[in-house]
Symmetry: C2
Subunit: 476 residues, 2 copies
Amino acid sequence: MLTDLYQLTMMQGYRANGCWEKEAVFDLFFRTLPPGSGYALAAGLEQVVGYIENLHFDEDDLKYLSSLNLFQKDFLAELRQFRFTGDIDAVPEGSVVFPYEPLVRVKGRIFEAQLLETALLNLVNFETLIATKASRVVAATQGGAVMEFGLRRAQGPDAGTFGARAAFIGGVKSTSNVLAGERYGIPVSGTQAHSWIQCFSSELEAFRAYAKTFPDQCLLLVDTYNVLKSGVPNAIKVGLELEKEGHRFLGIRIDSGDLAYLSRQARRMLDEAGLKQAIIVGSNDLDEETIWAIRGQGAAIDAWGVGTHLITSKDAPSLGGVYKLAAEGEKGIFTPRLKVSENTAKITNPGIKKVVRFYNREGKALADLIALEEEEFNSPALTIFDPVQTWKRKTLEDFRTRELLVPVFRGGRRVYSLPELTEIQKYAARELDTLWGEVKRLANPHRYIVDLSAGLYDLKQKLLREVNLGLEEREG
Amino acid sequence: MLTDLYQLTMMQGYRANGCWEKEAVFDLFFRTLPPGSGYALAAGLEQVVGYIENLHFDEDDLKYLSSLNLFQKDFLAELRQFRFTGDIDAVPEGSVVFPYEPLVRVKGRIFEAQLLETALLNLVNFETLIATKASRVVAATQGGAVMEFGLRRAQGPDAGTFGARAAFIGGVKSTSNVLAGERYGIPVSGTQAHSWIQCFSSELEAFRAYAKTFPDQCLLLVDTYNVLKSGVPNAIKVGLELEKEGHRFLGIRIDSGDLAYLSRQARRMLDEAGLKQAIIVGSNDLDEETIWAIRGQGAAIDAWGVGTHLITSKDAPSLGGVYKLAAEGEKGIFTPRLKVSENTAKITNPGIKKVVRFYNREGKALADLIALEEEEFNSPALTIFDPVQTWKRKTLEDFRTRELLVPVFRGGRRVYSLPELTEIQKYAARELDTLWGEVKRLANPHRYIVDLSAGLYDLKQKLLREVNLGLEEREG
């Protein structure tokens, strides 16, 4: 039932108009990267698979739909039997992806492919957005650890939990969200809040109480009263007491004030006290830009707690993924379709497509081609060209290729085994390693080449001419 | 399990340090309104109630927590019994609220009050944000209907569904989200997508097929090929055919291009064809500012479909609600507590508090006071003052008052009956009616007065002096 009403009205419409057996191919893709980013990290496929495997209408759902006085009895009876029976190909989670590349390709009877649209967009849009954001935040720390803290500011419980999962794919080390830890096996982290400190008659007493309960996980929040005059000296006292008892003092967290200045001072104080191994965690309204700036000022921060900005992708809280008809068919024979628009960027790519990535011998990604499924790229040299500025050409030689889409469902049955989340995280890191640094730059990144294959380009031009002829005739 | 790990580590800490029976009062409030807004509409209480009534740890949860090697056996055994047993007061959903006003006040044993923090913030932050955004979008239409379309761009399934609910509280007429319709009884709306039009060999054929299936709910999407040259003329053809058969043609939807220009032209064409009752729905990346601007240019749009910007509150995707300790106690005797900060805006208001709203005889809201629970405001005239610029004073006379917080839980038992969602929507509209237009202005609204009562002000000053004395002693 997690769908838009119009999917159901269209389904009934297809049925009433003899299109129940008509088949279609839809592509899920986005047109623009999150602002400032030179790439995106695909995520959400595991949730898509879960959604499709559970997809059905129960009696309460049917009763509700019936109450709307929109649907015919026999259509509702069909819904009672409904299961997804089509094919799905998708880009594995953690893959580096770019605009216009199909992340999910659905082939099936048109009414069932149509039904999936809303939920697939919801899941892939959000998780891809957060995985991408997280990878940028992690990149800004240049090797520091990032802890995801955002559940309280997330847009609802799912956003907190799916968001923690996506952030982990993007390279975050841990989450504060216990449910995400339980469900996905993400390491959980967290110690105490200001309210803990306030609940004791002094900061020192609060620190000692915490150290007594968690002698080996003792990270102390030092900014309740005054970081340098009270918090750090008290933490050092308790840290030395712990070390004397044979425990290892974990460190401190600073959650307000100027993190660059305070962390440098705190580092010096900890080092002078002989607590060189104690780490400093910084938090408070951080995002990739702030982390980059604070690091640039020599902050002595080992780990970063990141909340609101990451879990909501605050500077750009939506990825504009769309789900567009690419082909129509009957009994497995498909005809490419395209949607025109006044806005050139919104004209779709027709046909059943694949995405081919070209690598050099060192394994660096050179360019992607969105191509027709049947096209092969075996020749030793290939000239590719920009689909708008067609005079911009580039010849690739000595390359190896890889197709991004993998089979996930065939005839409604899953044929893909979902990787472990830690594997996805490692794969995402390897994927990012295949990109040149220029494409990953946090600001004004270099634009990675994504062209259309000659086959797809020609097909698109042909269909556009046909549509224009049709329009002219109508106007005439 | 929808909580931050540190809530659980603190709970174990409280237990280990003899604070298991210690009581506390926490306030949930936000410090700043969403940018541009002069008010907020509280929402999320129903989900908070659902969360608290279901709050427990099952065996899988306990097994997972045990696997973390952080928690002691007897603490986990306590969690097995865990139920919320405290008191909660809250502002009813749909109430107009302002910064620093407690929206939810939790009184209970400290460890249980602490546990609620994350989930309460998650739910109240998001729904309040979206209800507020929706009320602004609705206001911008000046009487037009708003349809919520955002599920595909929402931050996960809950965001789409809780967001649709919050949007309805804010005055939206319907949602495209079928699950939100089923779960909350929100009217659902939706007709067809571009893919429907593309699936037929011509636009006219697609329109006729739709009209045949839904003769009385026929709203046609007219921008697949060309709005004025193809879409509107074809829609008029089908509309006239429907009307001839005794049906009422609903109208058209325009989802791209310049909505101001296209809607005016389409209106003229529909009117000239005798379809004066047909409505025009506009959609495509709308928010309150765009709607206001398009309306200002004389757009002939009767209903607005609003998606991404509403469901994510795109310009400000988080409300910075916090949950702060206000008092500590034992056996029902409480001592006010406050948290200091270098940042004056972050100093909390101590004590067990209420929010009193003052109205004039016409029912317009004059000012709010955040006051101590025991304070009464029965005198015929009351002088209130700004808590920062204390020379700014205002004397209220001939007023009536209302307390915003109502009892929701007492001793863990719910004492509040949840209103129907349609009642909440009506209540929210009445609440907005109590505000002067200046406070509701979409840009640069007038700041509504929220002062501290004399009692609360004095208490806060006293506690601040004590804290400063303490800090000086420590430094000395």
